[in-house]
């Protein structure tokens, strides 16, 4: 502010005037002196000098008008006049401000999210060179460790490649135990990223010597600060992870949160260590694809060249290893779990950004027509100013100043609100059980975009009345009054603006309805289980130090003892909760297969390990055959329960009991068939699924399902007490199954909420737009209506001529918007389950909404047109 003030002071108007006056004065004095020397009387000399010089004031005005310094001055005057004008019409100002706050605010929020999720790179050196290596088929983003090693060693386009995966486990010290999320990373991870330790050291490739050879962990700065009080003496001490000893060797810098934007680990450990594994050779299994691979491109190498390079290696690997026959490579931007979350999130955010922009455009269209009407109402004032000698440019600049003032003010307020919202969003932790940090705090880029949007929209809607200024014929206006200059043309720019606005609004309303309907469908979709009334107690038995036979014993005791609690109707265990953290899929083969290359497989199926009683506890319907018993143990013949789709796909019949298939190179007999269900997400294409007895499919993940009629508040303490008696050292996470499902429904909920808000904003804008236009055209034609009533026009005729145009615009805009909405629905269906615009309820809902909006918006104008009193109107003027 002070710099601006200084400029204004230095070149202020008065100083400039003084200088010019002094110069002119000197000029005149020289002329007078010459005149006197030529023999004139002093008086005559003076008069002559004045005449020769011409109009002094005009000259001075022309000079100051040119000066840049006075441009500031003029701007100041324009702005203060604009502020006075706006204060004089608070209704217009408030309407415009609210419209802008909503329009710009929505954009800033959406851009803030886009900025932090898509545009902001990982906080490491040279982030632009980093790419995740994933498969070409979307949804299959992980590579196996041997494939990663081959890619890393054989490529010529990457300077280095690191691998990581996200695990959870229990970290315990002598005094405390924590349930943690951590990354298991290849030894070169930190070296490749170029991150330096804040304390101690990092591990390197040279530390890796086969399975469990590098028992080191690096703590995250946050974990170190919260749980170890930022004590540097922690370096070099031992902690237990899943009851195995590890040495803390370092702490990461505060700004480094791993290579996923939203999953911040508590610590890092070398991939060669596996606290979940009990001595198997997990480093050489080419078939188990569970790593994210991150590569840094060599300088000058394009992603396309690198992809070709990797695909050539993949073809070579496929020749050598049958299991790799489908291997290929694609590069995606890192940070959002490769393409798993990144793909849909990017397309959804792009979609929402477009919608938000459309809302702003609709807002600008709305303001433009509002402003144009206001300018038309002020045509007499404009005419007087032009008649008094103001230039058209000056008058236009004045109007533009008003538009800009409102826009910048509205933009500032909108940005303020969005900043508050974004900061709230950043603090919000939707799922306490996951280490999800949504950092969407606005940075300078966001503020810059906000300013740009404000100025842009100000210019956009401030320019519309320019035509009016240039078209004003002052003599004509002064003679006939404002109404006389208003020509109702057949089709004006403002009609187009309103039509566009209504089409956009209908589009947004359609999207909201589609999303809401899809949401409703998802909540009532057949899941293949009944989550109501089920309590989940989740744990990882490895955290309690259970391995091998101990796992089986503790599980059986848990089921039996919890089953004895009064009020519990059934209990069971599954290793991975369906629609929870996931669940793996694997290829199955027909009976008699001996060559287990992927192309010989029947299909891929989801697999789960379950205990006897799980099906009953989960409420999954058994269609044929039997449930497992505790006798189906490791020594018994291998058996499986499959879902209906599995049976149909492999045997062509739902009744597959007694049939056999091969999985993991071993034959299984099907003893039961259950209903189909949802396993990964609500929008998934139906999966074939198979269930195995827990003991025939060893795994430490344990989700205890307790079905009871009692409310959770009563049953949780009981279950907690019973489980603590079974094993005091085992950490459990309790939640009801419907609560746990919130995670799966989260994207759909967010999408629905976002679209709902956008739809609401658009609907408000459409109402104000139609209302404004109808009201304005009625108010301008009151005199005409008065005459028509006086000569006997019927009410319907009046309404027809007053509201025909808004209604036609509303109808045509709605039809266009609905068509656009139907097209956009295809896109929505990817995010919101069963979202389809071809739903009579959706189409009907949109039509009714638009009709209601139209009715609301035209009701008052129609009343006003009907209430015309010819006599009083004709007396006016």
């Amino acid at each position: 502010m002070s710099a601006f003030r200084r400029i204004v002071n230095t070149f202020s108007r008065s100083k400039l005037h003084q200088e010019i006056d002094a110069e002119i004065q000197a000029h005149l004095e020289m002329r007078i002196a010459d005149n006197i020397a030529a023999g004139m009387s002093p008086k005559e000399a003076r008069r002559n000098a004045m005449i020769r010089f011409g109009n002094r004031t005009v000259m001075r005005e022309r000079m100051t008008a040119m000066d840049a310094a006075t441009a500031f001055d003029a701007l100041g005057r324009d702005l203060s006049y604009a502020a006075r004008q706006l204060r004089r019409s608070p209704a217009f100002t408030a309407a415009a401000l609210i419209t802008l706050i909503l329009g710009i605010g929505a954009n800033v929020v959406v851009f803030g999210v886009v900025n932090s999720m898509v545009l902001r790179p990982l906080d490491v050196p040279q982030p632009a060179a980093l790419y995740n290596v994933v498969h070409k088929t979307p949804g299959n983003d992980n590579l196996s460790y041997p494939d990663y090693v081959d890619f890393k060693n054989k490529n010529s386009t990457f300077s280095d490649m690191a691998a990581y995966r996200i695990n959870n486990g229990g970290l315990s010290t002598r005094d405390a135990a924590y349930q943690c999320w951590y990354y298991r990373v290849s030894g070169n991870y930190f070296d490749m990223l170029g991150v330096q330790p804040a304390q101690g050291r990092f591990f390197h490739s040279s530390d890796e010597h086969g399975p469990n050879s590098a028992p080191y962990i690096v703590l995250s700065h946050n974990f170190w600060r919260w749980h170890f009080d930022s004590d540097p003496r922690i370096i070099g001490t031992n902690v237990d992870i899943n009851k195995r000893p590890f040495t803390v060797i370092g702490v990461t810098p505060a700004a480094f949160h791993g290579t996923e934007l939203f999953v911040w680990p508590d610590f890092w450990m070398p991939y060669v260590d596996n606290p979940d594994d009990n001595g198997t050779d997990f480093l050489s299994r080419r078939g188990s694809q569970n790593l994210w691979v991150l590569g840094k491109l060599n300088p000058g190498v394009t992603p396309l060249q690198a992809t070709d390079n990797l695909n050539a290696i993949a073809r070579e690997l496929a020749r050598q290893n049958p299991v790799d026959e489908d291997l290929n490579a694609r590069l995606v931007k890192p940070g959002l779990m490769a393409d798993m979350f990144g793909g849909p999130a990017r397309s959804f955010l792009t979609g929402v950004m477009v919608l938000a922009f459309l809302v702003l455009l609709a807002a600008c269209a709305n303001l433009a027509s509002l402003f144009a009407s206001r300018t038309a109402d002020r045509s007499r004032e404009l005419a007087i100013r032009l008649a008094l000698g103001s230039s058209r440019w000056n008058a236009f600049r004045q109007l533009l100043a008003e538009a800009m003032l409102i826009s910048v003010l509205g933009g500032a307020l909108g940005t303020l609100f969005s900043t508050v919202l974004l900061n709230t969003l950043t603090r919000w932790q939707p799922f306490p059980q996951f280490p999800i940090h949504v950092t969407v705090t606005p940075d300078p880029k966001v503020y810059f975009v906000a300013l740009l949007l404000s100025i842009g929209s100000g210019i956009l809607w401030g320019l519309i009345p320019a035509r009016q200024v240039w078209a004003t014929d002052s003599a004509q206006v002064m003679k006939t009054g404002a109404a006389g200059t208003l020509v109702f043309r057949r089709f004006t720019l403002r009609d187009l603006l309103l039509g566009v606005q209504i089409a956009l609004c209908t589009l947004l309303v359609t999207c909201s309805f589609v999303a809401l309907r899809g949401m409703q469908h998802s909540l009532h979709a057949p899941l293949g289980f009944q989550p109501q009334g089920v309590l989940l107690a989740e744990t990882d038995l490895h955290m309690g130090g259970h391995f091998g036979a101990s796992v089986t014993q503790i599980r059986r005791r848990m089921v039996e003892e919890v089953g004895r609690i009064p009020g519990v109707t059934s209990v069971g265990i599954i290793d991975e909760t369906p629609l929870g953290t996931g669940g793996s899929s694997s290829l199955v083969y027909r009976e008699g297969t001996t060559d287990f290359r992927p192309s010989n497989s029947a299909f891929g199926a989801k697999f789960f390990g379950i205990s006897p009683g799980y099906l009953q506890a989960a409420g999954t319907g058994l269609l044929n055959g039997r449930d497992f018993t505790w006798h189906d143990d490791a020594k018994a013949p291998k058996v499986a329960i499959v879902n209906e789709l599995f049976g149909r796909s492999m045997f062509g019949t739902a009744d597959a009991v007694g049939r056999r298939f091969v999985w993991g190179e071993k034959p299984y007999e099907i003893v039961g068939v259950v209903e189909n269900g949802k396993y990964d997400s609500l929008t998934e294409t139906p999966w074939a699924a198979m269930f195995f007895p827990l003991e025939q499919n060893p795994n430490s993940d344990t989700s205890l399902m307790v079905r009871s009629h009692l409310p959770p508040a009563e049953i949780v303490p009981e279950v907690r007490r019973t489980l603590a008696q079974t094993d005091p050292g085992l950490p459990f996470v309790f939640h009801t199954w419907p609560d746990a499902l919130a995670f799966v429904l989260f994207p759909a909920r967010i999408a629905t909420a976002t679209l709902g808000v956008m739809g609401l904003l658009a609907a408000m804008l459409a109402v104000t737009g139609v209302f404004g236009m109808a009201m304005y055209s009625v108010s301008k034609r009151m005199k005409e209506f008065g005459i028509r009533v006086a000569v006997g026009a019927q009410p319907m005729q009046l309404i027809h001529s007053a509201l025909r145009r808004p209604v036609v615009l509303l109808l045509s805009g709605s039809v266009v918007g609905l068509l656009l909405g139907v097209m956009a629905g295809q896109l929505l269906a990817q995010i919101v389950y069963q979202a389809t615009p071809r739903d009579p309820l959706v189409l009907g809902g949109v039509l009714i909404t638009m009709a209601l909006l139209g009715l609301v918006a035209t009701w008052i104008p129609a009343q006003r047109a009907l209430g015309v009193h010819p006599a009083s109107l004709l007396r006016e003027e």
């Binding site: 200088e19 002094a22 110069e23 002119i24 000029h27 020289m30 011409g54 000079m63 040119m66």
Partner: protein, 108 residues
């Protein structure tokens, strides 16, 4: 052709004057134009001020306060290199204008 208007002509007169005389105040410029044109051209003296101001803002001339021989404080103007260039181009276009007008006059 757009620059071949009267304002262009005034610019030409001022620039030419300054290039011939070096430093001059406005009154001096007026006197020079009258004298050099043998009293044929007389400009409204005040109208030179906006013109000079504009040329100064365009960077063709620069100004400074000086004391004249008659011991009076006056603002004097001088041509800048940019003004020198401008003068050449204005002169050229003026000659074209003159040629054009002469051609029309001959034809009539």
């Amino acid at each position: 052709m757009a620059r071949n208007d009267l304002q262009g002509t005034l610019d030409l007169l001022v620039l030419k004057t300054l290039s011939q005389m070096g430093e001059l105040h406005v009154y001096g410029i007026v006197l020079h134009i009258q004298r050099a044109s043998e009293e044929l051209l007389s400009v409204e003296e005040g109208s030179l001020y906006p013109a000079l101001h504009r040329m100064e803002m365009s960077g063709w001339i620069c100004s400074a306060w000086k004391v004249t021989e008659t011991n009076r404080k006056a603002k004097v103007y001088r041509l800048t290199p940019a003004g020198q260039k401008e003068l050449q181009s204005v002169e050229k276009s003026f000659e074209q204008l003159v040629k054009g007008i002469r051609a029309i006059l001959r034809y009539a």
